[in-house]
Amino acid sequence: MMVYFEFVKKKFLNNLEYRFNYIMGIISTILSFLIFICIYKALYGGAAEIDGITFSMVATNFLLSLCLSNVYKFDDEFIQHKLRDGQIANELLKPISFKGRLLAENLGENLFGVCFNFLPTLFIALFITNIEKPASAISFLLFLVSAILGYFILWEISFIIQTLSFWVFRIWGISTIKNVIIDIFSGTMIPLWFMPQWILDFIKWTPFDSIYFTPVKTYLGQVTSNQLLINFSRQIIWIIIFFIIGHILWKCGEKKVVVQGG
């Protein structure tokens, strides 16, 4: 376990070296947030609420999901690079779980994101517009739990995409298509309250709303305790499903690896 913790720490410190990148990350999130605020100001046109959703709730949705999506960073091409340059052999020889090590590094990176991206952005955004406070202390805690579960859904999806590089020459295209689908259906670019019903009926059967929108709704206290349970179990079920798929793909891929010399 300590080994994995080392990976978390290394990645965290590693990221500290690239200060410029995280300043850029903050600027980019703030600007995206600003755009959505301007758009929805124009759309609301001074109306207090639309369908029971106030402007500050929309702002909160955008802020939280944009901040989270900027924290959740995944390098979908990691395994591909390792395969390309033959490093995969060394990785497989190491006496630790490859996936565990990837996860540890990713956690380190995202922990960094929370400290130096999420919190500063949140702070700056408070000066831009009015943001809803969490409905209660409990809903804030539940929001954190839900957001972490959302992270694991994304992580397992990313791992599945990564393992595909055993069979696909370049993973960039698939990775981009995945990101497009998540952007549209997860509520980062359009709050799911305003999606047409037939899209919502479709999303119900997918993991997309569990990534950002479930945490946001929990934060706003929009869910009853019954729904809360359903939401959490949906998140966990998706994590398990993707974990199994990823595991099978990894096992198949591992068998397929042929390393030439070294």
Binding site: I27, A42, F169, R170, W172, I177, N179, I199
Partner: protein, 269 residues
């Protein structure tokens, strides 16, 4: 001379496309991904306007028309100017040193060696589709005047973006690393450009008109055809000079490039 230049451009394009098509499945996937990646913003606008009907008076067709100019100009931009986009790598891998000693213009070589036809297909096809659909739905009247204006506006839009890239590439001769600056100025401001600039605060409007002039790529040209009410907030003349702004800016950037290239130092052997 011109014939010679064109045939060389053609030859370079063919080889660079050929190298990408070595992996056919990947080439198709990349093009689709680029297409979808760009389409995200328009899909979001579509869903949003299903609910809200219009953004500051702009309905879905008008929004699509606005977006189409952005995609179309970028699609053409990457055919001719992808070399400026990938300029960093040409310096790192030493290709730029080779270009300098060849008996052809450096800028011409940069432009022709790197044409990114896959990106052109991905962005351009989306632009063309959106343009045809929206122009048809809006019932835009086409005569010699409007056709000419449209063509010039697209060329102008390409040149505005080329000017921004060329300017930032020129800065590289003085400062070394400028990719972050480009991303800050170009990548971030482009996010704003898809929407009518009248919805933004005065500060952002000023940036989009005078600093990173994306408004001349799509907003003012689109206003020439649509004449929406929010044009009142801006000088009307901008609509008419929009196609010229690109040429003017590109010339400035070009002279700055000619000046800065003298300061080039190679990265190594």
């Amino acid at each position: 001379m011109i014939k010679d230049t064109l045939s060389m451009f053609w030859w370079y394009s063919k080889t660079s496309l050929n190298s990408r098509l070595q992996y056919k499945f990947d080439a198709i996937l990349t093009t689709i991904a680029l297409f979808l990646g760009q389409a995200t913003s328009i899909v979001v606008v579509y869903f949003t306007l299903l609910k809200f009907d219009n953004i500051n008076g702009w309905n879905i067709n008008e929004m699509v028309f606005l977006f189409s100019l952005l995609f179309l100009t970028y699609g053409i931009f990457v055919i001719f100017f992808a070399g400026l986009r990938d300029f960093k790598y040409r310096i790192i891998d030493g290709a730029f040193d080779r270009m300098i000693i060849r008996p052809r213009g450096v800028l011409f070589q940069l432009m022709s060696i790197n044409s990114d036809w896959l990106a052109a297909c991905g962005h351009g096809s989306l632009g063309v589709i959106l343009f045809i659909v929206s122009a048809h739905n809006l019932g835009i009247e086409w005569n010699i005047q409007t056709v000419l204006y449209y063509i010039l506006a697209v060329i102008g839009g390409v040149l505005v973006q080329a000017a921004i890239f060329l300017f930032i590439c020129s800065l590289k001769f003085f400062f070394g690393e400028t990719d972050n600056l480009r991303w800050l100025l170009y990548g971030n401001m482009k996010k704003f450009a898809g929407y009518p600039i009248s919805i933004f605060s005065k500060g952002i409007q000023m940036i989009l008109i005078y600093v990173v002039p994306f408004s001349f790529v799509n907003y003012f040209p689109a206003q020439f055809f649509l004449r929406k009410e929010d044009m009142q907030g801006f000088p009307e003349v901008y609509m008419y000079i929009a196609p010229l702004v690109g040429i003017f800016l590109y010339l400035i950037s070009y002279f700055f490039w000619r000046f800065s290239i003298k300061f080039y130092k190679s990265t190594g052997n």
